[in-house]
């Protein structure tokens, strides 16, 4: 490492909450050398983003305060007057944020947003700025850049928007680029494209990069050195290779062991729990395998045949239907008691719509669905209520899916009372038992959802789903919004419950690594169709379809030693919009092995 470009020492940032000052970040110190990529990694609430915002001085000057030193190019950023700081921000230090749509102005043309920066910071003429904008868009590999200057952000896909944001950040050839979770909001196969781009640009421009992320896989892929933050403090700093090879701090070790690693399950037939690490001592309890829960002798608990769900797209004054989004197209599968089938795919592939169609939260167009032998489609309200008792859903955002004005005890008891399974007193007692069962305590029943942390809330949602003693649980991205360590705990809990109650899970997720841990069988979806389905081992160890391979190669590997010189697949995700008169072609599946099918 050569001379430090950015040197942070003794940085403490506090926020004023209800008139009291609370430290959010304490005594943070690290350096970013020339041409070096440093990752700041931590879970939500660890203070990693606040650290980045403090460096840029983007926090509210009245409700926050920072002390310490932040040296950048020989000057202390914390003591600079605001107008000096403005010259550095966006000029010497570029910044990329998580959500590309919100960091672009939706009503301004892309070209104008880039030239504005060039003209302000670099004093270019209108003509020179336009030419430079085209060059910048070329640099971030946006195809036919010149013709896209006059387009608006909404015409760009998520990944393309993030490229534009990067182009703007690069406009003034910054010395340092701060990237705050730049790939988190993007689709799995788009993520490595952006990572690759940032890495490439760093080499070409000779920049330093400060990379903020929660994803250990991304850290392993991109950073030279790593700063681990926990509860507002730096717990460990070191070269990325060293940290992954042998972390000192128990927290780092716990974090690393909770990171699902693609391929770590090779050879194991059944789902496996995550290893548990004690935070105090750092002792590791080995990952426990699960018992064989699948009941192959009985009828499947869920059977889906030729399910089709389409949404009309309407246009014009008369709202004529001009076409359909084929969200789910001719899908068939079975799910047995005690089995976990994962539906994997990227946003828009129809995996959530499939789950929602199954319990008729959206109405399917055609197809047969049977849950525990009962027909789901074309039945009346009473029968539907019966069916929905057998199949419960757990949603992605546990906070959103709990009524904020209801105590959680009442929320768990409610379905039991409504369905006449228990009197209010019994239901209350049972709610307490369920809370204990999911690792909370019965005394928490009197609390409101906002008084829990994210992981606890998801446990509450699981308890509520269990209240009706269902046989099938549809988990729609249920662990995606959780921190890694919490995610591991919730997965372990789900596996425990599967053993205890013989639950069947339809596990809907975009996260291949988690899917590998939890599933017995896997179905890969792309644009509404299942392109490949088979046992977890077959799909992961012998992927047949191009898209399955692409999905797997996109997963960042949390091991710097295995950092690949990979070729990143280019290209965007297609659209499932089809013309109104389209007759869906008959699709055939080829059998690779027993129970392993691939779309031809």
């Amino acid at each position: 490492m050569s001379r430090a470009v950015l040197s942070v020492s003794d940085l403490t940032t506090s926020f004023r909450v209800d008139g009291r000052w609370t430290d959010v970040v304490r005594n943070v110190a690290f350096e970013v050398g020339e041409r070096e990529t440093v990752a700041v990694v931590g879970e939500s609430g660890s203070g990693k983003s606040v650290t980045a915002m403090s460096i840029m001085r983007l926090l509210s000057p009245t409700a926050s305060r920072s002390t310490g030193r932040i040296d950048f190019e020989g000057r202390d950023l914390l003591s600079l007057p605001p107008e000096e700081m403005r010259k550095i921000r966006g000029n010497r230090i570029g910044m990329i944020f998580q959500e590309p749509m919100t960091s672009l102005n939706p009503v301004l043309k892309i070209g104008d947003q880039i030239t504005e920066v060039l003209r302000r910071h670099r004093g270019m003429s209108h003509r020179a700025a336009s030419a430079e904008a085209v060059r910048l868009l070329d640099r971030v590999r946006i195809p036919s850049a010149a013709s896209r200057l006059d387009e608006y952000p909404m015409n760009f896909s998520g990944g393309m928007r993030q490229r534009v944001v990067i182009a703007i950040a690069l406009a003034c050839s910054p010395k340092l680029l701060i990237a705050d979770e730049p790939t988190t909001a993007l689709d799995v196969t788009i993520q490595p494209q952006i990572l690759e781009l940032i890495r490439g640009l760093q080499e070409e421009e000779g920049m330093s990069v400060l990379f903020i992320t929660h994803d250990m896989g991304v850290v392993a892929e991109i950073s030279d050195r790593t700063v681990v933050m926990y509860r507002g403090e730096v717990v460990e700093t070191g070269s990325t290779a060293a940290i992954f090879a042998g972390a000192e701090h128990p927290y780092t070790r716990a974090l690393l062991s909770a990171v699902p690693q693609l391929g770590s399950m090779a050879g194991t037939p059944r789902p496996m729990r995550f290893p548990v690490i004690d935070l105090e001592s750092g002792d590791k309890a080995p990952a426990a395998s699960t018992a064989d829960t699948v009941r192959r002798d009985a009828e499947p608990i869920l059977s889906v045949q030729n399910l089709v769900t389409r949404f009309p797209v309407k246009k014009g004054v008369l709202r004529r239907t001009v076409g359909h989004v084929h969200a789910v197209e001719d899908i068939s599968f079975d799910l047995r008691e005690g089995e976990t089938l994962s539906l994997v795919g990227e946003s828009g592939c129809g995996k959530s719509t499939t789950g929602r169609s199954i319990i008729r939260l959206v109405e399917a167009e055609s197809g047969r669905i049977r849950i525990d032998g009962m027909a789901v489609r074309g039945v009346g309200r009473h029968d539907l209520a019966e069916v929905r008792r057998q199949a419960q859903m757990i949603f992605q955002d546990p906070f959103e899916s709990l009524n904020p004005r209801m105590r959680i005890g009442a929320a768990i008891a409610e379905p039991m009372v409504v369905h006449g399974l228990a009197t209010p007193e019994e239901a209350g007692r049972k709610a307490g038992e369920l809370l204990t069962r999911v690792g909370l305590s019965a005394s928490m029943a009197e609390r409101f959802p906002h008084e829990f942390s994210g992981g606890q809330r998801q446990r509450v949602c699981i308890a509520r789903a269990l209240a009706l003693e269902p046989k099938l649980i549809i988990a729609d991205e249920s662990v995606s919004a959780l921190d890694v360590s919490v995610k591991a705990q919730v997965i372990n809990l789900m596996l425990d419950l599967q053993e205890q109650f013989g639950l069947a899970y339809l596990f809907i997720s975009h996260d291949m690594a988690v899917v590998e841990r939890i599933s017995h069988r896997v179905a890969v979806m792309y644009l509404g169709e299942i392109v490949e389905m088979g046992s977890r081992r077959d799909v992961f160890e012998n992927p047949q379809h191009d898209y399955t391979r692409r999905l797997m190669s996109a997963v960042p590997i949390a091991d710097p030693a295995r950092r690949r010189q990979r070729r990143v697949a280019e290209g965007e995700i297609g659209s499932a919009f089809r013309a109104i008169d389209l007759v869906a072609p008959k699709r055939n599946y080829r059998q690779v092995a027993e129970g392993h099918f691939v779309l031809e």
Partner: protein, 307 residues
């Protein structure tokens, strides 16, 4: 590994005892100085109005207690038998202070009752409209549009012209002019709440529609409704006063503040300002105080305020 489960921001915020949203709102309301002032003023006015028969020096509508000789006395003067007319008397020798207290009874009754009934009707219609959606929703909302495009006073005038005078009739007229505001307000928030995941979760648990509507969606739509209701109570009182001032609201036997103002209006130019001025002042204080509470509630219940 359970230590990882609680992140710092939440650990810092977690209260030892569980506080219901209602209590939190009330606590915030009492912390706001202007709102506290409003609450105190409204409470004093309401208590005084309710206890008027006990508090007032005379019953202004018992003719045997009035003395025409005491007509139009200035504030602070005494009657023949030594009684103090704190705020003066009107042309019939009525103690204005007592008249205002009795007038407030009617004004408050009309204001709160009409706003309350309009709230129940409007909120039910709005909630139903949002939940059902489609054509029913469109039809109901066009009715609301039509209703809102007429000035309230015009609708009330037409209604009273048809129905005649009386407390019940003016309450009815005020309900008719106001339900649409509640319907529009709650429909907006119900449309947002209806799409949120907890409603979907309730549907997936096969809870009956009625329960989803009243136990899940309604409590989450209450915040804007409460704010609108507070402001609307003040508006209803004002509208009633306006109608009574115009002489088409309440009969002379049940004089509200508006009627008192109208009574004194004839004597304004002859310098006897107090007959109109003090009832007007009472009306002003009441409405400002209610609006102070409403403003504070709007700030407290604004979801964007929490950041």
């Amino acid at each position: 590994m359970s230590g990882l489960d609680t992140d710092t921001t939440e650990a810092g915020k977690a209260a030892p005892a569980s506080v219901s949203p209602l209590r939190k709102t009330l606590a915030a309301l009492f912390r706001d100085r202007l709102a506290l002032f409003g609450i105190v003023v409204v409470t004093i006015i309401v208590v005084a109005a309710v206890l008027a028969p006990l508090v007032a020096p005379q019953n202004p509508y018992d003719l045997s207690q009035l003395d025409i000789m005491d007509g139009r006395l200035a504030p602070g003067s005494h009657s023949m038998d030594g009684m103090l007319y704190l705020l003066g008397t009107d042309d019939q020798g009525r103690d204005l202070f007592s008249a205002i207290l009795y007038g407030l009874r009617i004004s408050l009754l009309v204001g709160f009752l009409s706003a309350g009934i309009a709230l129940v009707i409007g909120a039910s219609i709005g909630l139903f409209s949002a939940y059902v959606g489609g054509r029913t929703d469109a039809a109901l909302m066009r009715i609301v549009d039509i209703q809102l495009s007429f000035p309230s006073i015009l609708i009330a005038l037409i209604f009273l012209a048809i129905l005649g005078q009386g407390v019940d009739k003016i309450i009815l007229a005020l309900v008719v002019t106001q339900w649409a505001y509640y319907a529009r307000t709650i429909r907006g928030s119900a449309l947002i709440e209806r799409k949120r995941a907890y409603v979907e979760a309730a549907r997936s648990m096969a809870l009956p529609d009625r329960r989803i509507l009243f136990r899940h969606i309604l409590p989450n739509c209450l915040a804007p409704l409460i704010v609108v209701a507070t402001m609307r109570i003040a508006y209803a009182i004002m509208l009633e006063a306006t109608l009574s001032f115009l002489g088409i609201g309440l009969p002379v036997t049940q004089p509200s503040l508006g009627l008192l103002i109208a009574n004194g209006f004839n004597f304004m130019l002859s310098g006897d300002y107090w007959i109109s001025f003090f009832p007007g002042l009472a009306l002003l204080v009441l409405i400002v105080a209610i609006n102070l509470i409403g403003d504070a509630l709007r700030d407290i219940l604004n979801p964007r305020r929490e950041g």
